[in-house]
């Protein structure tokens, strides 16, 4: 393709986190000026989210062991900013072939694309527990954003509960910042960590960092329990969280007083736009969830649509940077442009190592599917509309709705304002357990436009 043609080839990247920024950087270096659309006001995504103007904490305070990576990514973006078409504060809420529907500060416009690269990131993966609708329960990632972006703790006494590396990272960040951490409760037992060790050793440096977080928690005398079964978030509707009840690995029932709970089980990808584009999805056995089916470079099943970073495959921020570069090289290759084959091989190799590590994490900190089965009928599955596990189970038993989207139509689980982000995976587990089938057999919740709520006051402008 000649340069003139290349310049009229409209490449849109959605998301300015580590994957999106590295993708934009690689394309720009090859002579393609991408349009980078991001819902946030500033670059960095969630992981390297920048603090507001007027805040003064340095990189080391903000990002700890990841300070250099955050700084490097921000510096790269600052260099790119003037040379690419950057559109912050812009939500892509729908798409049709070749066209995105965008909302920006109350205005709506379409944006045409020839190639689309989805770097949409992830949100926390949640398993409900009795009482998780109470004010003061936050997602683990949310608890981290409170500290990183606003320098606040989500409560006076915070319990961290769930599983996965983020549990220890955020808890230790809270301790370091001077917050009171009442307990760290991990549903995964220590034995699984040992079993996963060979795979986790794919990235010894990161494993060491994780062990340091744990050491910091012990040093600060924070009670850490492994192999717990979460039972209930205690409290009442008016005042919110008052504590957490759980059983220890040895079966002892324990109550911890707290006014806030940070809850999460690793991450789930934001796949709605890929789904709306018609991209095939695949069920990942290791993490027991659906994500976009892509080749190793990030090509989806739809021509011209690509995906990279945690929005494609949950492998973390470091992998997202590699995947962002890798997917850009794939696009160049598909456009029959010259590209650096050495760099491609290097990125591919790095991603292979990170794949191995992510399999280790999935073994060490598994998604607690069995909790869905044990969830009392009275427990809320859908926080948005207060729909219980019992109501969802009735749609299976009385209406025979053993498929997620059908059960959603009857029960409204997944139809609320979060659009299933925080309930649909757990809901699928509840349905599967009740129907006595594997979770992948009950399907996955389809993406629907608008992927986030829009205001009726939005004004249409021509692109």
């Amino acid at each position: 393709m000649a340069t003139a043609q290349l310049n009229t080839h409209r490449v849109v990247i959605v998301g300015a986190g580590p994957a999106g920024v590295r993708c934009a950087e690689t394309l720009l270096a090859a002579g393609i000026k991408p349009i980078l659309v991001d819902e946030n006001r500033r670059d960095g995504g969630q992981i390297y989210r920048r603090q507001p103007d007027g805040f003064t904490r340095d990189y080391s305070t903000l990002y700890g062991s990841e300070a250099d990576k955050a700084k490097h990514l921000h510096q790269t973006f600052d260099r790119l900013r003037g040379a690419i078409d950057y559109r912050p504060d812009t939500l892509v809420w729908n798409l049709t072939p070749g066209q995105l529907c965008c909302a920006n500060q109350g205005r709506h416009a379409t944006l045409d694309y020839d190639a689309l690269i989805l770097c949409t990131g992830a949100t926390d993966r949640l398993m409900p527990i009795e009482g998780w609708q109470l004010a003061g329960t936050y997602s683990l990632g949310g608890a981290q954003i409170a500290l990183k972006n606003q320098a606040v703790s989500i409560g006076h006494r915070v319990v961290f509960m769930g599983s996965g590396p983020l549990l220890y990272l955020v808890a230790s960040q809270y301790v370091k910042a001077g917050a009171t951490v009442a307990a760290v409760l991990d549903t995964s037992p220590f034995s699984l960590r040992l079993k996963a060790l060979p795979k986790l050793l794919a990235r010894p440096g990161l494993l060491w960092t994780g062990m340091k977080f744990l050491a910091q928690l012990y040093q600060a005398k924070v009670p850490v329990h492994l192999g717990v079964k979460p039972l209930e978030v205690l409290g009442d509707a008016a005042n919110g969280v008052a504590g957490v009840r759980f059983t220890t690995g040895s079966g002892k029932a324990v109550t911890v007083q707290a006014d806030a709970v940070a809850l999460g089980y690793h991450l789930r990808p934001e796949t709605q736009l890929g789904d709306l584009a018609g991209c095939a999805m695949a069920f990942d056995q290791a993490s027991s969830q659906w994500w976009l089916a892509t080749d190793e470079a990030g090509r989806t099943s739809v021509n011209g649509v690509y995906a990279a970073g945690d929005g494609a495959k949950i492998r973390g921020a470091d992998a997202a940077e590699h995947a962002g570069r890798r997917v850009a090289l794939a696009l160049l290759e598909d456009l029959k442009q010259p590209f650096n084959a050495g760099l491609r091989d290097e990125e591919q190799k790095a991603l292979g190592v990170m794949d191995q590590f992510r399999l280790g994490l999935a073994e060490a900190f598994p998604w607690p599917a069995e909790q869905a089965k044990a969830l009392p009928d009275s427990a809320i599955v859908c926080r948005c509309e207060m729909i219980t596990a019992g109501e969802l189970r009735r749609t299976v038993n009385e209406k025979g709705a053993c498929e997620v989207n059908r059960a959603k139509a009857f029960s409204r689980v997944g139809m609320g304002r979060c659009q299933g982000r925080y309930c649909s995976q757990a809901g699928a587990e509840v349905i599967a357990a009740e129907a006595g089938v594997q979770v992948q057999e009950v399907g996955r919740q389809r993406g629907q436009a608008p992927v986030k709520p829009l205001s009726m006051l939005i004004e249409e402008v021509s692109p």
Binding site: T56, Q133, L134, A135, G141, N149, G155, A179, G240
Partner: protein, 102 residues
């Protein structure tokens, strides 16, 4: 509850004055509405499906649990909108409620 969120650093910022449910509230420049409201109170809004109070959940614009409204009826996500002088916020939603579980 005096305040749900606890400030741990960055407290030397200039103040911003807004109104929440008719009462004056002092916040710091750069605060999200969520932080401004939850450093001084226990919740953001009333759930429209039960008797519970809500205080947000994800802080990244995905869960939509932190909606508040301007006096004019415009809906804002408290986690992703910053405070500004003179902002007049109401925490009861202007639309209908569906008290299924109250």
């Amino acid at each position: 509850m005096k305040g749900r969120f606890v400030r741990l650093a960055e407290q030397g910022r200039p103040t911003v004055n807004l109104t929440v449910d008719g009462a004056p509230v002092e916040a710091l420049q750069g605060d999200t509405l969520m932080v401004a409201l939850l450093t001084q109170g226990g919740s953001l809004r009333q759930s429209e499906f039960d008797s519970g109070r809500r205080a947000g959940f994800c802080l990244m614009g995905a869960c939509q649990d932190c909606w508040v409204w301007t006096r004019g009826g415009e809906r804002l996500r408290a986690c992703s909108n910053e405070v500004r002088d003179g902002l007049d916020i109401v925490t009861t939603q202007p639309e209908a409620t569906w008290p299924l579980h109250s």
